[in-house]
């Protein structure tokens, strides 16, 4: 194998790269080179260079720049990289809604979105709802109506509830329940969650 074959370039597929990086590993097993390659952790570093993607996004009105692996979900990026742990990982499969955030104003499950798919987008998480120490009306209504017990689903419920009002899906309790069905609450706080949403809607506060 020629030395030039060892260096991955942008046009290569991942499979090609892996083949080539295993060549590096094979070479690394020979004495002398082995020590140097191990010290530099050569193929790990190549893998990182090759696989990380630049990402620019705005979270709660703050701009972020990062390099991320394509497999990192928006949820994991928010929690693990930005330490915005208000957004919860429940099922991690789009079935529970605990990870709900707003992307360009629309509610989505952040567990089923890759961070890199959100290039240039504006994200709002539960941390971005309050105005300083003043709670968002929906947060205040959840407290007033006891819209939670353990609290694990609550940030997702609140993000979904705000979207539900903005979308105009609050004409009846039945419609609210239908449009909140993507947020599961194992404690069963549903009636109180609907109470909170009805209260905010009838109160006419801007959400």
């Amino acid at each position: 194998m020629k030395p030039s074959d060892q260096k991955p370039n942008q046009g290569d597929s991942r499979r090609d790269f892996l083949k080539k990086s295993s060549v590096i590993t094979a070479i690394a097993l020979t004495p002398g080179i082995a020590v140097k390659a191990a010290e530099n952790n050569a193929d790990e570093r190549f893998a990182e260079l090759f696989e990380k993607i630049p990402l620019n996004l705005t979270v709660n009105n703050k701009a972020y720049k990062a390099l991320v692996e394509p497999r990192v979900t928006l949820l994991d990026y928010l929690r693990e990289e930005l330490h915005l742990t208000g957004t919860k990982k429940g099922c991690d499969h789009g079935q529970c809604g605990a990870c709900t955030v707003h992307v360009d104003g629309q509610r989505v499950n952040s567990c089923l979105s890759l961070a890199v798919m959100n290039e240039g987008k504006k994200i709002t998480t539960i941390e971005g709802l309050a105005d300083g120490d003043t709670l968002h009306p929906m947060q205040a209504a959840f407290i007033k109506h006891d819209g939670f017990q353990c609290g694990y689903c609550t940030s997702g419920q609140i993000m979904s509830a705000v979207a539900c009002i903005r979308e105009g899906h609050t004409s009846s309790r039945a419609e609210i329940s239908e449009y909140m069905s993507g947020n599961i609450c194992r404690c069963g706080a549903y009636p109180n969650i609907v109470d909170a949403i009805v209260d905010v809607k009838e109160g006419g506060a801007t959400v």
Binding site: R14, E69, P70, Q106, R107, V108
Partner: protein
């Protein structure tokens, strides 16, 4: 999730060119099914081609057809004034599927491409001819409560999980597909396949093709229609049985009708025999019952799903009743 190469593209032409370069590449749209399958190890593409920036989001009437781009989101389609007015059955079916969060990103093309929710397909420790041809079907004699009663094969009894596709099948939609050389158009009802000997193939999309749009003829079925979805909870669950029903009524006589079922076969199940029977007949309960009986020809249960043999005709009758009473 096994890592992969990620590419972004902004045109149909470059999307197809990238696809042709690598057989192990997949298009990424909303990702609500694909990312889930990748997390579970059911699929592990080496390359994802993000097509979210390809301009295929249009919803418009051209002549007597409504065109919906492959990347229009489920929410955009369901809420669009044109769809609500002229194809309300489609709007209803879309709103019966998934949750508001998922519908905000899930696309028309992605909905068509979604895989079955059969538990054996999802569990990589289990045999599944669809996931890994030749390993057998775990559902055949296993947990098969959600499974098919029509058009099954010895290899697979999985069902297609979409609601949208049931409505599009009923509405005589067509699908426009493109490859590097040009476009072709096929009937929506011919897009998905029965399992037969090749359960690994869900549909007739070729390896070098991309879904561009669906086209739906404008009809007179926007008054008497209903999408009835029966499921284990009131919302946000896959169908045990669903029925899309729409007809044109003149002095209580049915002059045109469309009927299709979901949750019962490997593809959306059009009820042609029932449609032919009802055409020209009075919209009465006894005719609805006869049509439902006709629909069940060839149905077969596999144990846990035997209840569908009764639930399906009852759902057809109820959907027709509800469509009739909508005035």
């Amino acid at each position: 999730m096994i890592n992969f190469q990620y590419l972004r593209t902004t045109s149909v032409k470059s999307a197809i060119a990238l696809l042709l370069k690598d057989k192990n590449a997949k298009f990424l749209a909303g990702g609500t099914n694909l990312i889930d399958l990748m997390k579970r190890g059911v699929t592990a593409p080496e390359k994802l081609i993000d097509i979210n920036h390809v301009p295929l989001k249009q919803i418009e009437q051209i002549g007597n057809k409504i065109h919906i781009g492959a990347l229009a989101t489920n929410t955009a389609v369901a809420d669009h004034a044109l769809i609500k007015e002229k194809l309300p059955l489609l709007s209803w079916a879309l709103q019966a599927g998934a949750s508001a969060q998922l519908r905000n990103v899930a696309t028309v093309g992605g909905n068509m491409m979604q895989r079955t929710r059969c538990g054996y397909f999802y569990d990589t420790e289990m045999p599944c001819n669809k996931r890994q041809p030749g390993t057998g079907c775990g559902a055949m004699e296993g947990f098969n409560r959600m499974h098919a009663i029509f058009g099954t094969s010895e290899k697979c009894i999985a069902v297609h999980p979409s609601d949208m596709c049931v409505a599009l099948t009923a509405l005589d939609a067509e699908v426009v597909l493109a490859n590097g050389k040009g476009e072709r158009k096929i009937a929506f009802k011919d897009f998905h396949r029965l399992a037969g000997d090749t359960p690994q193939l869900d549909n007739n999309l070729k390896a070098d093709e991309m879904i561009i749009r669906v086209e739906i003829p404008v009809n007179n079925l926007a008054k008497n229609y209903h999408y009835l979805k029966v499921r284990d909870r009131a919302s946000y669950a896959f169908a045990l049985v669903s029925v899309a029903a729409a007809f044109e009524l003149n002095n209580n006589k049915i002059t045109d009708i469309r009927l299709a079922m979901g949750g019962v076969a490997h593809k959306p199940w059009r009820l042609t025999a029932s449609e032919n029977f009802l055409k020209g007949k009075e919209a009465t309960l006894s005719n609805f019952e006869k049509a439902a009986e006709l629909a069940m020809t060839g149905a077969k249960g596999f144990g846990e799903n035997n209840f569908k043999l009764k639930l399906a005709p009852n759902t057809i009758i109820e959907a027709l009743n509800l469509a009739k009473s909508k005035a």
